[in-house]
Point group: C2
Chain length 596, copies 2
C-alpha cells in the first residue's frame, strides 16, 4: 500500500503523500505490530498484517517530529472494551447500567440503533487507541437481553460488521441460565448433556452468523445472576461448559471473578468481602480450560477510588487472567467530576501486566455528543486503550498526547492542569485512606458515610468514637493480608509499613494514629477534605479563565456546568465527612476551620 491511500479505518482522516504504508507478510513483526519511522518529512509504516498497518497509521497521525525507526507491538493480544448496555431500558439501571453518557450506542428502547454510522465512528475511535475487542451488552443479562444469543443474533451480526472494519471482534455477555431462559430446558447444570448440547448448538449458530465472533462474558453466581453453584458445580465446571462450546471456533470465555456474598449480615464480623474472589477461585487454579480467561477487577472490592491490587491477579499462575478496569466513573464522579484515572490503572499494571492475557475496561461512552458526557472524560477512554497496548506508558504523557489530539495549543495548559492530579483531588475529598464506599446507596453518587454501614453489601468502615477502618490483618483481623504473596503480605499486615493511602483498608486505627506523613488520621481527614474541595474551587477558576473561544462555546459551557456540580458535590463531601468524623471523634481541627 502506498502513500495517499485512504483505507476505510481512517474515516475522514487522510494520510498525505508524505506517509508510505507497506504491508509485508514476510516482515516477521507478528500480528498487529508495526515499525514506524519519520525522516526528511516522510513517514514510513511497515506491518505484517492489515491490523498492524492500521495501528501504524493511527500512530502516523499523531506523529509530529522525526523519529528513528521504532517497532511497536501490543503488550497483550486481548484489549477489550466492555459495555454494560441493556437492550431494554431497565426500570432502575436505565439503558446503560452505571452509564453516565446518555443512551446506548447500540440499542434504544429494545431495538437495534438506527445510527450504525455512529457505531462505526465509535469503532474507529476504539481502534485508534488500540482496542481490538468489544462486548456489547451488560454483564447483568436480563431475560430480554438473553435473546441476543439466539433469535436476535442478527442484530449482533450487524454491529459485528461495523466493528470488523476496524479489526475489532465482538463478544456477548450471556446468562449462565440461557438454556432455561431461552432454551426451554429445565436446568442449566453443566453436567447435564442436554445443557452441553444446547450451548454447542447455540454457539454453532452464533458462528454461522458471525464467523469471527469473539466469545462470551459471564457474570455467574454474582449479585443475583445465575451460576454453577445452583447445581453444586464449581466455577471451573461452569466456565468449561461454555469454553467447550466455543473451542471449535476459536472463541473464548471471559469468566468474571466478581463473586461474593451480597446478602451478608452486617453483624457478621467474620465474613470479609475482600477475601471472596480469592477464596472462591484460587482453589480452582489449573482447572480452567485453555480458552477460559478469568476476568478479575483490579481491586478486591469494587472500583473504589483507592484499593490495593486484587491478590487473585498475583496468585493463579496456571490460569489465564484478565484485569478489569472501569472507565465509566461509577465511584469516581460519574462523569460529572473530572477524574483522570490512568495514574491508578498504571500503578496496577506495573504490578500485574506480565501476569495477564487481557486488559478489559468498562466503557464510559454513550450516545452523548461528546461520547462521555464530561468532555474531559474522553481521556479515560483514550488512555484505557493506549495502556492496554503499552502498560509502561507514562499517564501524564498520555494525557498530553490526548490533549494534543483534542484541543488547540491555547487550551492545552489549562486542560493539563485541570486533569493531571484530578484522581488525587477526587480521592482527597471523598472516602479517606482507602476505606472506600461512604457513597449514597443505590446510585453511588455523593456522600453518605453510613449509607452502607448496616447493609448487606459487605462494605463497612466500622467507625466508632475511637477509630475507623477494617482490620484485615492475619494477626487480629479477617486474615485477608495472607492472600498476598510476600513482600506485600508483610507490608500490608503491619501498620508500620502499610502505605498511608491504604491504611484504613487494612487496619482499624485510632483517630490519633500518626501517619507516615506525620499527621494524625483525624487531621489527615480534615486536611485532605479542605484541600480537595479547595482544589476543585481552583479548577473552577482556572477553567473560567480560559476564553470560551479557545475550545468552542458549547464545550466550554459543558465543562463549566460539570465543574459547578463537581464543586457543589466536593463541598458536600468535605462537610459531611468532616462533620461525621468530628462528631464521632470530638477532636477539633488544629487549624480551626469550619466544621458543621
Amino acid at each position: 500500500m502506498s502513500a495517499g491511500v485512504h483505507p476505510a479505518w481512517l474515516g475522514s482522516a487522510v494520510l498525505g503523500d508524505d506517509v508510505v504504508l507497506t504491508r509485508d507478510p514476510r516482515c516477521g513483526l507478528g500480528a498487529e505490530a508495526y515499525t514506524i519511522a519519520r525522516s526528511g518529512g516522510v513517514t514510513t509504516v511497515v506491518a505484517e498484517d492489515e491490523a498492524g498497518l492500521m495501528y501504524g497509521s493511527f500512530h502516523a497521525l499523531r506523529l509530529q517530529d522525526d523519529l528513528e525507526a521504532q517497532t511497536h507491538r501490543p503488550f497483550v493480544a486481548r484489549r477489550m472494551m466492555q459495555h454494560w448496555d441493556n437492550v431494554f431500558v431497565h426500570p432502575v439501571m436505565g439503558q446503560v447500567e452505571r452509564g453516565y453518557s446518555g443512551g446506548s450506542l447500540f440499542w434504544e428502547d429494545g431495538a437495534l440503533t438506527d445510527d450504525p454510522d455512529r457505531v462505526g465512528d465509535y469503532a474507529r475511535l476504539l481502534a485508534s487507541v488500540g482496542i481490538n475487542s468489544v462486548s456489547l451488552n451488560n454483564v447483568n443479562v436480563h431475560a430480554g437481553e438473553a435473546r441476543l444469543l439466539t433469535d436476535r443474533i442478527g442484530e449482533v451480526a450487524v454491529l459485528a460488521a461495523r466493528f470488523r472494519q476496524y479489526h475489532i471482534r465482538v463478544y456477548l455477555s450471556v446468562s449462565f441460565a440461557a438454556p432455561m431462559l431461552v432454551g426451554g430446558l429445565d436446568t442449566a447444570d453443566p453436567a447435564d448433556e442436554r445443557v452441553q448440547a444446547w450451548w454447542a448448538t447455540a454457539t454453532q449458530r452464533v458462528y454461522a452468523a458471525i464467523p469471527d465472533f469473539g466469545g462470551y462474558i459471564v457474570k455467574a453466581d454474582s449479585e443475583g445472576q445465575p451460576g454453577p453453584f445452583a447445581y453444586g458445580r464449581t466455577h471451573a465446571e461452569g466456565a468449561n461448559l461454555l469454553a467447550a462450546a466455543l473451542a471449535p471456533f476459536g472463541g473464548e470465555v471471559y469468566w468474571r471473578a466478581f463473586v461474593y456474598n451480597h446478602r451478608q449480615d452486617w453483624r457478621d464480623r467474620t465474613t470479609d468481602r475482600a477475601r471472596a474472589a480469592y477464596d472462591h477461585f484460587t482453589p480452582l487454579d489449573g482447572e480452567f480450560a485453555p480458552n477460559v480467561i478469568l476476568q478479575v477487577k483490579h481491586g478486591p472490592i469494587d472500583f473504589q477510588p483507592r484499593e490495593p491490587v486484587s491478590p487473585v491477579l498475583l496468585s493463579m499462575p496456571a490460569t489465564r487472567l484478565a484485569v478489569e478496569f472501569q472507565a465509566t466513573q461509577e465511584y469516581t464522579g460519574q462523569q460529572r467530576h473530572v477524574c483522570y484515572l490512568p495514574p491508578m490503572w498504571s500503578a496496577v499494571l506495573s504490578t500485574v501486566a506480565d501476569r495477564v492475557d487481557a486488559v478489559v475496561t468498562v466503557s464510559n461512552a454513550g450516545d452523548d455528543r461528546y461520547w462521555t458526557n464530561h468532555p474531559l472524560a474522553q481521556a479515560n477512554l483514550y488512555a484505557a486503550g493506549r495502556l492496554a497496548w503499552d502498560p509502561t506508558l507514562d499517564p501524564t504523557a498520555l494525557l498530553d498526547e490526548w490533549i494534543a489530539r483534542t484541543f488547540p495549543p491555547a487550551a492545552a495548559g489549562t486542560v493539563h492542569e485541570l486533569m493531571r492530579d484530578s484522581w488525587a483531588v477526587y480521592e482527597r475529598y471523598t472516602s479517606p485512606l482507602g476505606v472506600g464506599f461512604m457513597v449514597h446507596p443505590g446510585d453511588h453518587y455523593g456522600p453518605d458515610v453510613d449509607g452502607y454501614e448496616y447493609s448487606r453489601w459487605g462494605t463497612y468502615h466500622f467507625a466508632d468514637r475511637d477509630g475507623v477502618g477494617v482490620d484485615r490483618t492475619t494477626a487480629t483481623g479477617t486474615g485477608y493480608t495472607a492472600q498476598y504473596p510476600e513482600p506485600l503480605a508483610s507490608q500490608y499486615e503491619s501498620r508500620a509499613t502499610c502505605p498511608d493511602e491504604l491504611l484504613l483498608f487494612f487496619h482499624h486505627v485510632p483517630y490519633t494514629h500518626v501517619l507516615h506523613s506525620g499527621v494524625t488520621v483525624i487531621q489527615h481527614i480534615y486536611d485532605t477534605h479542605f484541600a480537595g474541595a479547595e482544589a476543585v474551587s481552583e479548577m473552577v477558576s482556572r477553567w473560567s479563565d480560559l476564553p470560551p473561544s479557545a475550545v468552542g462555546e458549547d464545550l466550554h459551557a459543558r465543562v463549566s456546568d460539570r465543574l459547578r456540580e463537581q464543586h457543589r458535590s466536593a463541598l458536600e463531601w468535605r462537610d459531611q465527612i468532616n462533620t461525621y468524623f468530628y462528631r464521632k471523634s470530638g477532636i477539633p481541627d488544629t487549624k480551626a476551620r469550619r466544621i458543621y
Copy 2:
C-alpha cells in the same frame, strides 16, 4: 320507621323485630344525633334525621345488654377519611401514596374502579364507625388527577352516589395550579380575575354534577406542590380564592398547614422544620374565610411515632381547624407491624378536641381482602371514626369493642394482648425519646439512623460522641418551645420538666443525662430496644399459641406472616440503634447484652 326494616345502609346486617327505629323531625336532638335505650329485650332508637337513625342503628348492632336511655351526638360535625389514592400509578409512589393495602378502592391504572359494590361496602364500613366525609384522591395532585375536577367529574359523581347512601359527602384534593393545569390559563394568581372566574365556573360545574359535594382539600406550597407564594400572596389569600368559589354551594376548603422548607441545608442550624407551620400560619389567624378549615397534622413534623402536639392547634383561636391523623402506617410499621395508634390519637384529642371543627384521618384501606393488609390494622380505621365521633372514648375500650365485633370470643384475649400496648412496643424498638426519623430514606421503612441526617428534609438528630437530640429551647436552641402557650412552653423548655418521651425532641442532652425514669439516656436506649424486640418475640409466640381455627386459617397465616416480618425488622432496629449509639458513646450496656 318501625321494627324489622332493613334500610340500605345496613347492608347485609338485619335489625330484628326487637329494634324500633323512630325518626322524629321535632325531637330536637339535632343533626346526626340519636337516643338509644334497651329494655325488656327491645331496643329503641330515636333520631331527628335519617343520618341519626343510621348511626343509632349501627349502635344497636353492637349493643349487648340493657341500657338506660342515652343520647349520642358527634363531638365534631366533620369526621373525614382522606385518601392518598392516585388515578394513575405513580412511578415512585404507586397507586396509593404511602398505601400498604394493595391498590386503590376507587381507581385502577387510570380508570374508575369496576367494582362499585366494594366502594359501597367501604362506605358502609366508614358510616358504621361515624365517618361522614371522604376525600377521594391524593393531596399530591399530579396532572392526570387534576382532571377529576373537570372532565372526569362524572367518575367522582359515580363514587359520590355510593357514599351518599351512607350519608357521606365526597371531597376532592385539587391542585392550586388547576387553572393552568386544566384551565389553560397562564397563571393561578388568586388576585387575577380570570383565575377567580375559572374557579367559580369549575366549582359550579362540580355542583351541577354532585349537588352535595363537600369541597376541596389543598396541599399548597408544600413539598413541590404549587401555591400562592409563587404570586406573592398569602395562604389566606390562596385559601379564600377557593372558598369564594365554594361558598355559594355550602362547600368548604380544607387547607393543609403542612408547609415547610423541604430544601433545607443540613449545615443550617438556624432553620427548624418544627417551627414552620406555626411561623407560616399564625400570623394569618382571622384572615381566612368562614368556609376555610386549616388542616393541621397532629404533630409539628410528620406523623412520627412520638411528637408533641402541634402548637398551631393551640394558637389560632380565630381560625377553624382540623386535626389530621394518619391511619396509614407510614412511619409506624406500614401495616406489616402491629401498631394500634388510638392511644396516641386520644392523647392529642384530649388537648385539642375543643379547638377543632374537624377530625381528619388518612385512610389505611385498599383493595386488600382484609381492607388493611395487616388484619389487625383494621382497628386503627375503626377507632379513627369512633374517636372523631367521641374523643373521650377510652382507646382500650375501643379496642375491645372492635375485637368483639371482629373476632370470636376464643380469640379476643390473644388479640387484645397483642394489640393493646403495640404502639408503645413499636416506639421502644424504633427512634428513642421522641427524636424521630432514623428511618430508611424514601420508603420510610426500617432503620437508617443517619439516613436523613445530612439531607435536605430538616429531620436531624445531631448525635455526636457526647449526646443526642435537637435543642428547640428558647434559651439556647431554635426557640420552638416559645410557640406553645403556657404551661406547655415552660414544661418543654426545661429538661427538668420535659417528659422523658419527648426529651430528645426538645433538648440535646449528654448520653449520661438521667431521665425521670432514673436511668441514663444511653441505658434507656439499650433497655427499650432490647425490651421492644423481646416484646415482639412474645407477640409471635402468643399468636402461634392461638389455634388457627379460632380465627380462620387464612387470617391466622396472614397475621403470622406479618409478625415474622415485624420480628425480623424489630431485631434490625434494635441492633442498628444500639450499635450506632454504642459506637458513638462508647458506653457499655450495664446489663452486658450483645451489642454488635
